[in-house]
Symmetry: C2
Subunit: 189 residues, 2 copies
DNA sequence: CGCTAACGTGAACGCTCACTAACACCACCC
DNA sequence: GGGTGGTGTTAGTGAGCGTTCACGTTAGCG
């Protein structure tokens, strides 16, 4: 890993910004090129296609989340403590990388089939960590309810990137963490 | 208003389904036409443009939510009771019209400028009802925190349409309602 | 020094797509 | 029965865009 951001990473960063703002189909190859200071087809020296670029982005996010989740799961035996750690971890990521979060759950449909399956698999494994913790902590009335609760928590923690976005992280973070923890504890009605 | 769904409404319904699945730019005029049994440019007999169709859809949603919110606000003097009613109302809408919810917060960016401003204004007014109730109920540590909490609640309630989607509503609804209420009560840390 | 590989450019191609134009059908009504 | 407005169709047009191609430049290296 180079100390100076490589052109590849530069492209990924700017593309994420643009995709988050205008959507995958709302951004042109020329537009991405212009954002990094080169023009148009130069991207094909670094990525096989526009879809390939998106694929690398989304796979990267999913892998990062799953890796973090697995690490926390290994550290915490107590499911309630694990959930608290997961909430902190996910909230931190969502507030630090708002563009990635936005792109991830808006443009998944634009992935070519094999990559989409890959991302879906990674996401499913990540969700499974949450579902498992919820069930072990007796915080869900069943498999399906646990899944609803996990997705609900994601929606809550991912909400700030999607909406205004320019809320300062140090204001939003404690609110979101407190809300999510309370929401999870309340799920079994 | 005809008892049989007019062609206009038919188009709006099918377009919502398609937009939700593939995104605004991922759906063609011909595709929408095919979905309602006519082909292609026939849509221009009912809508001025593809963007106009989207505009009518999103304005309709925003107006519906705002109207519902205002009605509830008029009925409930107690802010906590109002919040409970808002949660029930919004959750019901989100689970009954998952496609509309999906399109609303994914494709707002694809609206032409005047309509986008219109929708943003309606949304802001709707959020204001929530923010106001939260503050009057002493459930937020400040203006900005209240806004974060409101958007968080939306993210939670809107989560099921976005994710799996094929979860049965009568399973998801009570879980989401309980989670959202708990989350809102927890927001002041 | 020449060879090579990495990186960039502008021009061209081919396709999709929103939108328009010209025409047809049909219900309705005076 | 003829005019009229609503609703459809097919063919065409022009623009945008992803991708490829042929070519230029530069850096490293035997």
């Amino acid at each position: 890993m180079p100390v100076t951001t490589s052109r590849r990473e530069q492209i990924l960063t700017e593309a994420a910004r643009l995709f988050a703002r205008h959507g995958f189909h709302g951004v042109s190859i020329d537009g991405i090129g212009a954002a990094v200071g080169v023009s148009g087809p130069a991207l094909y020296r670094h990525f096989p296609s526009k879809e390939g670029l998106l694929a690398e982005m989304l796979v990267g996010i999913s892998e990062h989340l799953l890796a973090g989740g697995q690490e926390l799961a290994a550290e915490h035996a107590d499911p309630v403590a694990l959930l608290d750690a997961l909430v902190a971890f996910h909230t931190d990521f969502a507030l630090r990388q708002p563009e990635l979060i936005t792109v991830q759950d808006r443009d998944l449909a634009n992935l070519p089939d094999p990559s989409r399956r890959r991302v879906r698999g990674l996401q499913r494994a990540y969700v499974e960590i949450w579902v498992d913790a919820l069930r072990r902590a007796d915080l869900a009335a069943g498999e399906e309810a646990a899944r609803v609760a996990a997705h609900g928590a994601f929606g809550l923690m991912n909400s700030t990137p999607r909406s205004a976005g320019h809320t300062r992280g140090d204001v939003a973070a404690p609110v979101l963490v407190a809300m999510t923890r309370a929401a999870l504890r309340a799920s079994p009605v």
